[in-house]
């Protein structure tokens, strides 16, 4: 949505232009999915909110 990389593929669209679909590729993707499916830690979300709030304050 809106961001297309230079090779024309939206990042994170699930395509792997230079990786064969073999066992190693499958394992790598499964390993990533374990982490990607976790909720984003609250600390990290708070950090983002703080940065956003500070910026809005500065811009006023």
């Amino acid at each position: 949505m809106g961001h297309i990389s230079k090779n024309g593929k939206p990042p994170g669209d699930g395509s792997y232009p230079d990786m064969p679909r073999d066992e190693i590729g499958t394992r790598l993707r499964a390993m990533y999915a374990e982490v990607e499916n976790e909720p984003i830690p609250a600390e990290l979300l708070e950090l983002l909110e703080k940065l956003d709030a500070a910026e809005k304050r500065d811009n006023q």
Binding site: G2, P11, I24, L28, M31, V35, E36, L44, L47, L51
Partner: protein, 184 residues
């Protein structure tokens, strides 16, 4: 706010799950991975003017994160090699069940790879970048990325005793290579 172009914050948020996965798979340590992602978010936020909305946020963030990782490595020196030693030692027991490796076996094998090879494999095989994008992220030649990925794949196939595209069995030569790498 426009409907189609996400704000910087929204784009950053959307990129976080994959960035966390990269951080953990690169560093191998959850505590360090969390620190890396937080530092990356702070750096990205302070440099957001240099990011063009509509371009590849993931590639931009990954570039910041891996540069942060390597600069920490240089400061911390030998600490990482110790960690790798632990992983390597555990790998001296090969996968027990024929032809089936579990995820733990795979991760141990992955962390015996040199950082630059593991990184290249992750960028291509897990993050889904092209060779060209990965070369830009790592600030090296496309050929260097291709060769790192190729060496990483060969080594993993040996360690995990799985067959690659060429579908070879375990011959005496690769047996020797595997035993030698266990002994390292």
């Amino acid at each position: 706010m426009s409907e189609d172009v996400p704000t910087f914050k929204q784009a950053l948020l959307a990129a976080l799950p994959s960035l966390r996965a990269f951080a953990l798979s690169l560093s191998g340590r959850p505590d360090r991975a969390d620190d890396l992602v937080q530092e990356t978010v702070m750096k990205a936020w302070s440099k957001q003017e240099s990011f063009k909305l509509g371009t590849n946020m993931q590639a931009w963030l990954v570039t910041i994160l891996r540069n942060t990782f390597y600069s920490q490595m240089r400061k911390r020196g030998r600490e990482v090699q110790d960690t790798e030693g632990v992983f390597t030692a555990r790998l001296s027991v090969p996968p027990s069940h024929d032809g089936v490796m579990d995820m733990a076996d795979f991760k141990r094998a992955l962390f015996t790879l040199p950082d630059d090879q593991r990184e290249a494999l992750l960028l291509i095989g897990a993050s889904g970048f092209s060779y060209e994008e990965a070369a830009e992220i790592c600030d090296c030649a496309v050929g260097t990325i291709k060769s790192r990925v190729s060496r990483a794949r060969t080594r993993l196939q040996e360690l995990l005793q799985i067959s690659g595209p060429s579908d070879y069995g375990m011959d005496p030569v690769s047996q020797r290579v595997v035993s030698r790498s266990f002994a390292d």
